[in-house]
Amino acid sequence: MNAGQQWVAFTTILVKEVRRFMRIWQQTLLPPAITIALYFVIFGKLIGPRIGEMSGFTYIEFVVPGLIMMSVITNAYGNVVSSFFGTKFQRSIEELLVSPVPNYIILLGYVIGGVVRGLAVGMIVTLLSLFFTDLQVSHLGVTVAIVFLTAVLFALAGFINAVFANSFDDISIIPTFVLTPLTYLGGVFYSISMLPPFWQAVSLANPVLYMVNTFRYGLLGVSDINVAWAFVMVTGFCALLFFFSLFLLERGKRLRS
């Protein structure tokens, strides 16, 4: 395929992915908006004033960046894992496998599809947050870059989960037992400076902490971790997962017999 044909193939996959989650917006866009709005109400307005300030900000100001990032992470991951596994399950993946689309275009199509949903939900949540607090953006470049890279990283992780999954149970295990604990313990609701030294050290092994804190740095200008190191790490993980995903596609892992 020449570059023009590859572009057509990429946009075809991407449009199909966007069309899919827009078609079922009641399952893809509405629930995270409602869930996060409830977080805003409970943690921001009801419990937040009793907690007081955190890192020099009101609790609602502190928690909003984390909740936006949490919605981006879960939706970027969830979109790719459910869409690609569904494609495998219905065997419509064969439409792609018999076509001349290069594997990296297949991967990019699905990953960017996941990124679009992650960012769409992130945008909805951001707009909802404006009903509860005034958002400021301290470092626009950092904010945009980290939210995009995080969405890419978790979309790739969702793709790998979908490749290995054999059943619908397999696509809910990782989000339930890995993704949710990492996110909840990744500094969304608290600053790790509140933790004892041992648990601070343990928290530093959680990659989500770096993404949430870098995003918070982009919005509020404060962070528990080194932002430059966070970018290196997230970019490195993105590259690692991208090439691993590509390897799985080249090998036809659980796609070709």
């Binding site: 395929m1 020449n2 023009g4 044909q5 590859q6 057509v8 193939a9 946009t11 075809t12 996959i13 199909k16 069309r19 078609r23 569904g86 494609t87 219905q90 065997r91 419509s92 064969e94 439409e95 792609l96 496998l97 018999v98 076509s99 001349p100 689309v101 290069p102 036809g252 070709r256 017999s257």
Partner: protein, 313 residues
């Protein structure tokens, strides 16, 4: 002339150790309508799966119009359209989206994709259903949808894996007409089927595959020439107590009102009827027992199986 499909020494061993293909050689010429026949588990779908890249080969070489799939699979795939045995489209998508999306996967610009989608959906009688979700279609419509999808990039080689399985006779015949038209316009077609009548009606050349080996590769005409006997079933008015013994017409009793006889091709049936008349047996109806090709198919596959079984002892 470069073959539309050239297969050399193709082997496939699955992860569980099952050897599905044991060194297949096959050539299909451009413009041919070629049948790949074989019993269940013979290796037909594995062969097609490898050609279409859904199955990884263990060893061997495949070239599509001279393009080696190991060297330039992307180009080779451009030449192929596939209609699989099982429905493999998204059941929640609209008919028109399924076909147009496939056009996009082959890099067709949007305008051309729209034109081709309309062309093939109209030709296959699905244009009126274009905005329906695919799961709402009947079984026959779903089969036609897969054919439209396979044709949208106008492949030079169309591969159909049992395309009329579960389709009623009327629709099957209309699909035959359509496929004959596609073939007449220059598209090479490879067909696997269980309906031997289908192969006899559509195809010019045939390969019979059994237990992972090609056991016969010839023209349909040549194959039929090998058939030198026919079996007729005769129904009688009188109840029979045993098989009437008539010299030169071996047979067997089916039930008390019917029996079958084996007749060498070209041999007169007059003597048979004369003998039956002498015994006051009145024949009320007579029919050919089975599809001719089906008989031949069994006669070719069974000895091969016996040889294999003996070799294993």
């Amino acid at each position: 002339m470069t073959a539309a499909l050239s297969i050399r020494n193709l082997h496939k061993q699955y992860d569980n150790g099952f050897e599905a293909l044991k060194g297949i050689d096959l050539d299909v010429q451009p413009g041919d309508f070629f049948a790949l026949l074989g019993p269940n588990g013979a290796g037909k779908s594995t062969t097609i799966g490898i050609i279409c890249s859904l199955v990884r080969k263990t060893a061997g070489e495949i070239a599509i119009f001279g393009t080696d799939i190991d060297r330039n699979f992307s180009l080779a795939k451009q030449y192929i359209g596939v209609v699989p045995q099982e429905f493999n489209f998204n059941q929640f998508e609209k008919v028109i989206d399924i076909v147009k999306t496939q056009a996009g996967y082959f890099g067709l610009p949007s305008k051309l994709a729209d034109e081709r989608t309309e062309k093939y959906l109209r030709q296959l009688g699905l244009w009126e259903k274009r905005h329906q979700r695919s799961r709402m279609l009947s079984g026959g419509m779903k089969r036609r949808l897969m054919i439209a999808r396979a044709l949208v990039h106008e492949p030079r080689l169309l591969v159909l894996d049992e395309p009329t399985a579960g389709v009623d006779i009327e629709l099957r015949r209309s699909m035959w007409q359509f496929l004959k038209g596609i073939n007449a316009s220059g598209t090479t077609i490879i067909l696997t089927t269980h309906y031997l009548e289908e192969a006899e009606s559509l195809c010019r050349n045939v390969a019979i595959i059994d237990q992972g080996k090609i056991i016969h590769n010839t023209s349909i005409k040549q194959l039929l020439r090998q058939l030198n006997k026919e079996v007729f079933v005769l129904d009688t008015r009188e109840a029979l107590t045993g098989m009437p013994t008539i010299e030169g017409y071996p047979g067997q009793l089916i039930d008390e009102h019917s029996f079958e006889v084996e007749v060498v091709k070209g041999k007169s049936l007059n003597k048979l009827f004369a003998s039956l008349s002498e015994r006051d047996i009145h024949v009320t109806s007579m029919r050919n027992k089975a599809n001719r090709l089906e008989e031949l198919f069994v006669s070719l596959v069974e000895p091969h199986r016996n040889e294999t079984a003996e070799a294993q002892l």
